[in-house]
């Protein structure tokens, strides 16, 4: 049952010398699906004759804006594209286990690592863009210059924990389902899979909220601590 390591990913096919794994294919599928959905939903004229899909997308964007507004405070506009896309991608990626035969790409370490790297670099990008070079670099020595190494260390470890949190939750849930299937019959894992829907959405929410807090803190405006 547990012969395959959770750190190895299953290779589907090769393009030249490069192996293409299942998480990569799933990720590209989700990306294509989201782009297609947004493109179809925004074809009609906004507010005038938006169809059902257009209205649904409006509701999603409105909710995301108000949620991020609650954390950031005023002027969410520069953060919304990144954080909203992050949340939508994570929800679809975490819930892709519902489709038979698919596995959540976030259950392998590469996808959370890539997402955490994006958050790591966008923290610096927004910090420098909103505060300027000098103010942004000065905040590393803010309470006292003695804390400079600790601040730099915290920058790295929180990115690492962002990655490990998402990976650990999704992968361990996959593991639990595999163990339950092994121990009991066919229909017993269904409640666990329903729990997996909840876990997937909560983890997507937590990842997005933490990314929002990090970015807003580096941009110099935050409401909750």
């Amino acid at each position: 049952m547990l012969e395959t390591s959770p750190f190895a990913s299953d290779v589907l096919f090769h393009i030249g010398p490069m192996p293409i794994t299942l998480p990569v294919v799933t990720t590209w599928g989700i990306m294509g699906f989201l782009v297609f959905l947004s493109w179809v939903g925004t074809q009609s004229d906004r507010f005038v004759e938006a169809g059902g899909l257009g209205i649904a997308l409006e509701i999603v964007v409105e909710t995301l804006t108000s949620q991020i507004d609650n954390i950031v405070g005023a002027k969410t506009a520069p953060f919304l594209p990144l954080l909203g896309t992050l949340f939508l991608f994570l929800v679809f990626a975490n819930l892709s286990a519902i489709v038979p035969g698919l596995k959540p790409p976030t259950g392998h370490i590469e996808t959370p690592a890539a997402l955490a790297t994006i958050v790591f670099f966008s923290v610096h990008y927004f910090g420098i863009r909103m505060q300027g070079w000098k103010n942004y670099l000065r905040h590393y020595a803010r309470p006292s210059a003695l804390l400079l190494p600790l601040n730099v260390l915290a920058e790295i470890t929180r990115t690492f924990s962002l990655m490990i949190r998402l990976f650990g939750n999704m992968m361990s849930h996959e593991f639990v389902i595999a163990i339950v299937v092994f121990l009991s019959g066919l229909l017993v894992p269904i409640p666990f899979m329903v729990l997996g829907v909840l876990i997937g959405i909560i983890q997507a929410y937590i990842f997005t909220v933490l990314a929002t807090v990090y970015i807003a803190a580096s941009a110099g405006r935050i409401k909750i601590e």
Binding site: S5, P6, F7, I164, G168, N169, I202, V209, I224
Partner: protein, 80 residues
Amino acid sequence: MDIHAISIIGAVIAVSFGAIGPALAEGRALAAAMEAISRQPESAGPISRTLFVGLAMIETMAIYCLVIALLLLYANPFVT
């Protein structure tokens, strides 16, 4: 005892002892949040949002232990 048995014992110890602290901490955090919500039901939204983020932070410690255990079982650097 060979290295495999020691790795399995190490993984069990890591998960079981690593789960104690986060479990106690999550219980305390949840109890405090419940008390705060029952005192001020109108501020349930911000409290539960902060609670979720805090629980995720606490839970990360247990997840670290799980990852260490899985590393010992599947990606052990000392098993050739």
